[in-house]
Symmetry: C2
Subunit: 81 residues, 2 copies
């Protein structure tokens, strides 16, 4: 099994947080000023986003980036669960 | 004055944390498996690192990435101070 990279763990958290807020990929993309296709790639762990992109995504969700990162680090330790 | 991007704030925190641990750019680069030149560029805010790179840097410092990000977000709010 492939090791869970930070970008993989972040992808999980990203999708979970977006769904918890009831946001579509499209609306979220608009809020973060990113292309919906790019959001889809991120959520499927097909991109390793830059720090500034992760911050824009956190802003679009209205949460501190540190919180998303802490959740991603917890997911990494728990092997993604 | 230019707005403090997340990558700028992270650069400040990165340099501060490295110096607090008494690590050279070279040693830190080696621990993070990155080139010393790249570390220098990051610390001078000349690169917007990927999420996986920021995680490798946090690991090299032995701290959670979420902590560095929280400090960077605080620095952003405080306009870098």
């Amino acid at each position: 099994m492939r090791r869970l990279e930070m970008s993989d763990a972040f992808a999980l958290v990203l999708k979970r947080s977006r769904q918890a807020k009831g946001l579509s990929q499209e609306l979220r993309a608009e809020k973060a000023n990113l292309h919906p296709t790019y959001i889809g790639l991120l959520e499927r762990s097909l991109r390793n986003p830059s720090l500034n992109v992760t911050k824009a995504l956190a802003n679009a969700l209205g949460v501190p980036l540190a919180r998303l990162i802490a959740e991603a680090e917890a997911a990494q330790k728990g092997k993604g669960r």
